[in-house]
């Protein structure tokens, strides 16, 4: 009888051991956060907002949208944004209809880590039309 009880104890200890092992091995599945991704995301968001603010400060942005001069807008963004940044701009009216009929971008997407910046711009003429800009930005890997 004594020997049987002792063996039952050993089995429980082994069960506890494997249970603990299982729980802690699950921790390995939690991915560690990436510092670089967060840094780049924050930087890109600031860069995007800063660029759009500057272009909008004298009404250039809304003027180009009103005229539908998408090529000029693409060249302007390309000149204002720092080197090595991919962008793709989509412009919607106040009802959510897409206004740009061509892609306003400087090439193919260079990274999966894309940051999206939303910016609302008002026309400087008497119509005061509202435009919603979605600027996607990515840095080359």
């Amino acid at each position: 009888m004594k020997i049987q009880k002792c063996r039952r104890g050993q089995i429980r200890i082994l069960e506890a051991f494997f249970a603990a092992l299982l729980i802690f091995s699950a921790l390995f599945l939690i991915p560690a956060p990436s510092t670089m991704d967060n840094e780049h995301s924050d930087n890109l968001h600031t860069i995007g907002i800063n660029a759009l603010l500057q272009l909008d400060s004298d009404g250039s942005l809304s003027r180009l949208i009103e005229n539908g001069d998408w090529n000029a807008l693409r060249n302007l963004l390309w000149q204002v944004l720092p080197n090595g940044i991919w962008f793709n701009l989509t412009i919607l009216d106040s009802e959510g209809n897409q206004l740009n009929d061509i892609i306003i971008s400087n090439g193919g997407q260079v990274s999966d880590a894309v940051v999206s910046v939303k910016y609302v711009c008002a026309a400087s003429d008497s119509t005061y039309s509202i435009y919603i800009l979605h600027l996607q930005l990515a840095r080359a890997d």
Partner: protein, 348 residues
């Protein structure tokens, strides 16, 4: 040894092993999260410093134009500006080590009031202008020059309008041109042979997309003479508060003419005193290039500076350190520039 003692020993060994392994695994898993929080805090802290520098005018609010009062708090924004990221022209000039009234790095760090932080500020023009001489040919009393001008942004060609000024001894002229789609243009001009000595070709390029993207470049060459000495060999030029302070580096130097040039306008500057000129306030979205000509003994010189004094770079050496870098597009007197602020340090 009784069987129960062996069981107890075996059980305790297993327990200790599991507990130690659990502690090791937990420590390993939690460490990146803890260090990440610390990194994010530091990064955010440095970003706040960079934003503060560009969005606040500092104290006193006119510390840029007032060269006598000490800086209590550092900020580069223009006083009472309605536009974010609009910088004060004089505050920017006082960052340039070439300006006689520049602030030292020590007083900058002291005025930032952030401990254990190193900062480097660089301000560049948006467009790069490359000037290359192609040909020159003397014909009677005139010499004809041809230059190629290339306008680039991040290495890619930019179509732009060019306004070029030619300054030599008793000679001033200008030409205009447009770059082709590959960002290149060729300009030609003639200079009288009697105007021998140092000559300057001051070129302004304005982007076809936005007039605020206007940059300049200056090319010095010897007209029927040897290569000119480097800029600031005869006179040290410091613009501040719409006044140009011209400090002669030689007693015998005599000033002849002083010009203020922008993309659209040019004007001969009025001399206020022996060593100061009034800089006109142009309504032009352009940097102002200031040129002073003169003679030292028999040598003619033409020296220049820009207002604002950009490009500039000042602060701690960050070349061999891992620092946070923040890039902004800012406006100074309605023209756009690129600012890079590099920070390194820890929050307290």
């Amino acid at each position: 040894m009784p069987a129960i003692s062996i069981d107890t020993f075996f059980a305790c060994s297993l327990m200790i092993t599991v507990v130690v392994a659990a502690m090791a695994v937990t420590a390993k898993m939690v460490q990146p999260y803890l260090s990440e929080i610390e990194n994010l805090d530091q990064k955010e802290y440095l970003r706040e410093i960079a934003d503060y520098i560009l969005l606040n005018p500092g104290s006193p609010q006119n510390w840029g134009s007032n060269k006598t009062s000490p800086i209590e708090s550092f900020g580069l924004a223009k006083n009472d500006s309605l536009t974010p990221y609009e910088l004060d022209i004089d505050k920017v000039c006082r960052l340039n080590p070439e300006n006689a009234y520049h602030i030292s790095y020590l007083s900058l760090i002291k005025a930032i009031k952030a401990k254990k932080v190193a900062i480097r500020i660089s301000i560049q023009q948006i467009l790069d202008i490359l000037i290359t001489p192609i040909a020159n040919q003397s014909d009677g009393s005139l010499t004809n020059y041809t230059f190629q001008i290339r306008v680039k942004r991040n290495g890619f060609p930019v179509s732009a309008s060019l306004h070029c000024y030619i300054i030599a001894k008793n000679f001033f002229n200008y030409v205009s041109a447009e770059t082709s789609s590959n960002g290149k243009a060729t300009i030609s001009f003639t200079i009288p042979n009697s105007s021998n000595g140092t000559a300057l070709l001051v070129t302004f390029a304005r982007s076809s997309q936005d007039s605020r993207i206007t940059s300049y470049a200056v090319y010095a060459f010897g007209h029927l003479s040897g290569n000119p000495l480097p800029n600031n060999s005869f006179v040290s030029l410091s613009p501040l508060n719409y006044t140009l302070y011209a400090n002669k580096l030689f007693e015998n130097a005599v000033f002849l003419e002083a010009y203020a040039l922008t993309y659209s306008y040019n004007k001969t500057m009025t001399q206020i005193s022996n060593v100061t000129y009034a800089i006109p306030k142009f309504l032009d979205k352009s940097p102002i290039v200031l040129v002073v000509t003169g003679t030292n003994s028999s040598t003619f010189f033409a020296e220049w500076t820009a207002y604002p004094q950009i490009p500039l770079e000042m602060g701690a050496n960050m070349q061999s350190s891992e620092c946070a870098s923040f890039i902004y597009t800012v406006s100074i007197n309605q023209a756009l520039y690129e600012v890079r602020i590099q920070c390194e340090g820890v929050s307290e």
